[in-house]
């Protein structure tokens, strides 16, 4: 059954495997948030969207037997939450951070409520793509079984970069985010552009939730996200609103999740609370390093977080 132990090689392998397995939710949520924030609005509610996506994907996959349908429904459920956020957060003098916090509570509450009957059943999982045809080592084979949603995220990152830089629609979003007044003078509907960005971003976050419940760890429970949605929002700041850097940052966070268990499995027992906390410590460090009162953040959309008068 199992082959030889890998010993110390297990640690880098586990981190690589953890990166490939665990970074998809970070990646999809942070890309969604990147799109949203480029248009000048913050959507903190993506933690709730992630849970809602995870629940609806699992439920639909279980009820219909088709995990792909589950992924689509997760995206649609995300869009539904995005619509609420997009509408509420754009009312005059409404603070989008406050709405986002309400949406975390609303999204997760709704997911927990509707998800109660689906905690126990086992839903069909997404197929895996194996990149390990060349190796006979079972550990490597397992590590290189990749989620199709991860590949989707990796493909979206450079596409989104290109979209922002070179496409007319990308320019519109950036214009609305950087200088709403100028965009308005051009005759662009700020409301519609922001609504579209928030809804599209929430679609991606919903799919990120599907990756949690239908691939890894591959089950629905109320503790499934453990704050990943919020970390992904922080990660966008770290990545300076750049989609390709979101990809790198997500890989880093996915790998950090694997450090604690991997070190314990080879007998490094000391400080495992510290190693287990590494994704959170990383978030804090990033915040400390990137936030300075003396300078504004480069790359931040000009009107980010400002309420409309």
């Amino acid at each position: 059954m199992a082959s030889e132990a890998l010993g110390w090689w297990g640690v880098p392998l586990a981190i690589i495997a953890g990166t490939l397995r665990g970074s998809a939710p970070f990646l999809l949520v942070s890309l969604g948030e990147c799109l949203t924030e480029k248009s000048g609005k913050i959507n903190l509610g993506l933690e709730g969207t992630l849970l809602m996506g995870a629940m609806s994907a699992y439920a639909v996959s279980y009820l219909t037997g088709s995990p792909w349908l589950g992924v689509i429904v997760a995206g649609v459920a995300g869009m539904f939450l995005g619509l609420i956020h997009g509408w509420l957060a754009q009312q005059p003098r409404v603070n989008d951070v406050a709405v986002g916090i309400a949406m975390i509570i609303f999204g997760s509450g709704l997911a927990f409520f509707l998800g109660k009957p689906f905690i126990q059943p086992s839903a069909p999982q997404l197929p895996t793509l194996s990149l390990a045809g060349w190796t006979q080592i079972p550990q490597l084979e397992s590590a290189l079984s990749i989620s199709p949603l991860f590949i989707l995220g990796v493909a979206i990152a450079p596409l989104m970069q290109w979209f922002f830089r070179s496409s007319r629609w990308g320019l519109l979003i950036r214009a609305v985010g950087d200088s709403p007044d100028a965009a308005k003078a051009m005759g662009i509907s700020i409301f519609k552009v922001r609504m579209a960005s928030i809804v599209a971003g929430s679609f991606l976050a919903g799919i990120g939730g599907a990756s949690l419940s239908l691939f890894y760890p591959g089950s629905w429970s109320e503790r499934i996200s453990s704050g990943q949605g919020l970390m992904a929002v922080a990660l966008v700041i770290f990545a300076r609103w750049n989609p390709v850097q979101c990809l790198y940052a997500s890989l880093l966070f996915g790998g950090a999740q694997a450090i604690g268990p991997a070190l314990q499995s080879v007998g490094i027992d000391a400080y495992y609370y510290l190693f287990n906390a590494s994704p959170y410590i990383l978030t804090l460090l990033i915040m400390v390093i990137t936030c300075s009162p003396k300078r504004t953040l480069t790359g931040a959309p000009g009107s980010l977080g400002q309420a409309q008068e």
Partner: protein, 386 residues
């Protein structure tokens, strides 16, 4: 100022926000479902059950909920239950409404962290209501008279699971995913290992602590890391073993379950599992209560504990990968535990630092207080409690 698409007054916006927030909060905070089971007569006893997580989690809470469900068939007892109640003031609110609204006179608080300060505080406010807490923390003279505690020696079942695991393993490397290094978890790790080493003294158990009772991603990481290290039988002590058992099955290694029966999650690799059998415990309590006995009049003991012999535990049915000899050895071990011939903690036992923790010739029975304060890992366990 832009022309708004929808014209909404400030008052309407605030009302909308409040409604959204309130709805979200209600949905989040109310995991409540009352299930009255018998028509309430005057002498109907009402018991309230509170769980820390969802009641169908393939784990600790499901085991308690199944125990509660076994009371449905009895006459003269009505139960109400509430799931997903966190170990905060929320549990006090839940208990209060069970007493005030449902008329509960016996409360079964099933999570360890409910006891201090929540159950203790309410026991003072409601001296006529009896509080039964799962976790065995009651101390005579220190805690109120209307508080009792119950707990099972599930490490007996873990010992038997260790016996089965050692038979099934080819690498003789077993894995244990624990939540936190507290005495109950360490005792399970040690009993599992001692059971395995009673079959093959060269067997070792790698232990990984995730640091949290429920953290699916880290549990899956831990299971994968151990599979990479050549561990071929996994078991765990977390609130819901679902992710661990499913990950083990996906990696093609064996698993033994915990809390409840997880056989259907791993049809190929599930060997057996250490399960609670709370139905016996709850039925006993109910029949004592119906006889008019209480904690206060001394009719019900404040501390109720037991193992296989007292019907607190059961083993999951053996899976297809369990050999006939393994089954025989497991059944023999179980029979010896019931008869008392087999004492798990019998000297000499060394910890994994080489220090003798139980001297040669000394036997610590299940009730021994030393075992409840366990802070060491037995020889053959790879890991540390620090």
């Amino acid at each position: 100022m832009r022309k708004p698409t929808f014209q909404v007054t400030r008052r309407q916006a605030i009302r909308g926000l409040l409604a959204t927030g309130a709805f979200g909060l209600t949905v989040k905070l109310s995991g409540c479902s009352n299930s009255p089971t018998a028509a309430g007569g005057n002498d109907t006893l009402t018991a309230g059950f509170i769980y820390v997580g969802p009641k169908d989690d393939y784990g600790y809470n499901q085991a308690h909920s199944e125990g509660r469900a076994s009371l449905d068939s009895l006459d003269g007892i009505k139960t109400s239950e509430e799931a997903s109640v966190p170990e905060t003031n929320a549990v006090q609110e839940s208990i209060r409404s069970m007493i005030d609204l449902d008329g509960a006179t016996a409360i079964f608080a099933t999570s360890f962290g409910y006891f201090d300060p929540h159950v203790l505080a309410l026991a003072k406010d409601f001296p006529e209501v009896q509080f039964f807490h799962c976790g065995g923390l009651y101390e005579e003279g220190v805690h109120p008279n209307n508080v009792g505690s119950y707990f099972g020696y599930i490490d007996e079942a873990q010992y038997v699971a260790g016996v089965v695991a050692a038979h099934a393993s080819t690498s003789k490397r077993l894995g244990f995913i624990g939540a936190k290094p507290i005495p109950q978890v360490l005792r399970n790790v040690n009993s599992f290992t001692l059971g395995a080493r009673s079959i093959d003294p060269s067997a070792t158990t790698q232990v990984i602590f995730t640091g949290d009772w429920a953290d699916p991603v880290r549990e899956a990481e831990a299971a994968n890391s151990m599979a990479d290290q050549g561990v071929d039988v996994l078991t765990c002590h977390v609130d819901s073993p679902k992710v661990v058992i499913e990950t083990a099955e996906r990696r093609g290694i064996f698993a033994t379950g915990y809390h409840a029966n997880q056989a259907e999650l791993a049809p190929k690799g599930y060997l057996t599992g250490a399960e609670w059998d709370w139905s016996t415990v709850y039925k006993n309590y109910v029949s004592l209560l119906q006889e008019g006995k209480t904690l206060m009049n001394g009719g019900i003991p404040h501390l109720v504990r037991g193992g296989f012999k007292d019907g607190f535990l059961k083993l999951s049915p053996f899976g297809p990968a369990v050999s006939a000899s393994a089954q025989q050895a497991a059944e023999a071990a179980q029979a010896q535990l019931i008869s008392g011939e087999l004492v798990i903690y019998k000297g000499e036992i060394k910890d994994n630092q080489g220090k003798t923790v139980i001297a040669g010739g000394k036997e610590l029975g299940q009730t021994a207080i030393e075992l409840e304060q366990m802070n060491w890992l037995a020889e053959g366990v790879m890991g540390s409690v620090g």
